[in-house]
């Protein structure tokens, strides 16, 4: 028991990171499952982090209320973002959503409300490791429950062939909007928890580098596999600690891992245990 407590004390920061990163990976995998390369997760995360931090710090809201408001805010923004990008697909969608992410970062960099480039510090940091993992479990359960609904079938069909999906009665526009909003909600939850488990946040925390990181986790895990996404996030969060002697070469080791996965397991880690035809529940 002592050893466990010792481990926890030593690594709670890392454990928090893994939980939050896993949520971010899940959030992106929701979009990718619907075949939408929408890369605004870091922005959704940032919006929620700032909303929650401002409400808790400046307006003295209790944490649960601030976090809830933050998740609602990022969800609404994500749903609204679906409208201007409704005709964009593939890399064009990726570019537009990355652009949106940059807008969010630049705005946060220049508003006095968000503390500008220096960010915000002294954020109430009462979110503990168990809270983060409870949130992760809740997200995972919600996604499992969702996978048994007709919506999950609509998502799969939209990914496989939007044109044919329309032909069998799928409202492709609604699927895109809902999956973006759901991704926004999950990323927002991760962002709010991030703000309240770290003491300070800066616009740079939610920039393109973060988005790229999330995408790499999903690619390594397998773009349509939520379990793979969590594995990818965990692996790449733990690895830098295990090979700390290579710390100076972190970008290089990450790149080598990505390359190895793309070359030897193009479907990601998730594809190693799932092969053949895509099955849907009937």
């Amino acid at each position: 028991m002592n050893a466990l407590a010792d481990f926890y004390a030593k690594h709670s920061q890392l454990l928090n990171q893994i939980g939050i990163n896993a949520m971010l990976a899940l959030s992106l995998s929701v979009s990718l499952r619907a075949g939408q390369l929408a890369l605004a997760q870091a922005a959704f995360m940032g919006i929620a982090a700032y909303v929650s931090a401002i409400l808790a710090l400046t307006y003295k809201w209790p944490l649960p209320a601030a976090i809830l408001a933050a998740v609602i805010a990022s969800t609404v923004v994500a749903a609204l973002l679906a409208f201007p990008v409704r005709r964009l697909r593939g890399v064009f969608l990726a570019i537009a959503t990355i652009g949106f992410g940059e807008i969010v970062r630049v705005v946060a960099n220049n508003l006095s409300l968000t503390g500008g480039a220096e960010g915000m510090s002294g954020i109430p940091a009462d979110v503990t490791t168990p809270v983060i993992y409870a949130a992760l479990a809740a997200v995972a359960l919600a996604l499992v429950a969702l996978s048994r609904t007709k919506f999950a079938l609509a998502v799969t069909l939209t990914r496989e062939d939007e044109h044919a999906a329309r032909g069998v009665g799928v409202d492709v526009g609604a699927v895109r909007t809902l999956s973006l909003a759901l991704g926004g909600a999950i990323a927002g939850l991760a962002g709010a928890l991030y703000a309240h488990s770290a003491f300070f946040i800066t616009p740079g925390d939610f920039g393109f580098a973060r988005m790229e990181e999330i995408l790499v986790w999903c690619v390594i895990g397998g773009v349509t596999s939520p379990v793979g996404a969590v594995l990818g996030a965990t692996l790449l969060s733990v690895l830098p600690e295990l090979i700390r002697f290579l710390a100076d070469y972190r970008e290089i080791t990450d790149g080598v891992i990505l390359l190895a996965v793309v070359l030897f397991a193009p479907g990601g880690l998730g594809s190693l245990w799932r092969r053949g035809a895509v099955r849907v529940r009937v």
Binding site: L157, R166, V168, G169, V170, G276, A277, V278, R279, V280
Partner: protein, 239 residues
């Protein structure tokens, strides 16, 4: 059942369909023939909401459906197959049938898989097989099974015999007749006149976007206007 009234479709300056009217009844098979580019597939696209109408109306069971988005029209009970097969290739056979059933209220029941495959004439196909791994003819028939999974009132088959040999085409006639016999209105687009004659109750001929003839298959085959559209004028002079 399904009625198209003076349907006009324009792509830019090209009039792909020009005031075409036709009606399909439950239990009947209407053939739609015409040379390449006559507007046959455009007619299916106009009916299913993929091509916007420049004029006219589409009426399903007394309700106008033109102007509705494609997914609403599919849910209203119009199912189709595609000239170029559009299965969900990565999904298994069962998944494709579940996709077809998306348009209706009730989800696909496991017991239905077998009977849908039988109705489409492919009882031997493994429901767990990946759709894209099936032989070409089976893929065409799986598209028919997917359309039937929607429990539709109208089925539009866009050249279902394309790429099939005469024996396969012959068996397809039975399949299509059985679909209509189950009380479904069938529109059959086809080049193969043997199939049209064997399967259809009546035929509409399209040429340059206009319906130039309407009648039983036998009447159509004798119609000089139709012969001219297919063979061109002065055919006698060549002979």
């Amino acid at each position: 059942m399904l009625a198209l009234e003076k349907v006009t479709v324009r792509y830019g300056g090209v009039t792909a369909l020009d005031g075409v009217s036709l009606a399909i009844e439950r239990g009947r098979i209407l053939g739609l023939i015409g040379p390449n580019g006559a507007g046959k597939t455009t007619l299916v696209n106009a009916t299913t909401g993929l091509a916007p109408l420049a004029g006219g109306s589409v009426i399903l069971d007394g309700r106008r459906v033109d102007g509705l988005p494609p997914h609403r029209i599919a849910r209203a009970g119009i199912a189709r197959t595609y000239q170029n097969i559009r299965l969900f290739g990565a999904l298994d056979v069962r998944g494709n049938l579940a996709a077809g059933a998306f348009a209706r209220r009730a989800r696909l029941h496991a017991d239905e898989v077998r009977s849908l495959l039988e109705r489409a004439g492919i009882p031997h196909v493994d429901p767990g097989a990946q759709a894209s791994s099936l032989p070409y003819g089976d893929q065409r028939r799986l598209e028919i099974a997917r359309a039937l999974a929607a429990s539709p009132g109208v089925v539009m088959l866009d050249e279902p015999a394309a790429g099939m040999n005469p024996a396969e085409t012959h068996r397809l006639v039975e399949t299509i007749r059985a679909i209509a016999a189950a009380g479904i209105a069938v529109l059959l687009i086809e080049h193969d006149m043997t199939l049209v004659r064997a399967a259809c109750d009546s035929v509409v001929v399209l040429n340059f976007g206009e319906a130039i003839a309407h009648g039983t298959p036998a009447e159509i085959a004798r119609d000089p206007v139709v012969v001219e559209a297919y063979l061109g004028t002065g055919a006698e002079a060549l002979a």
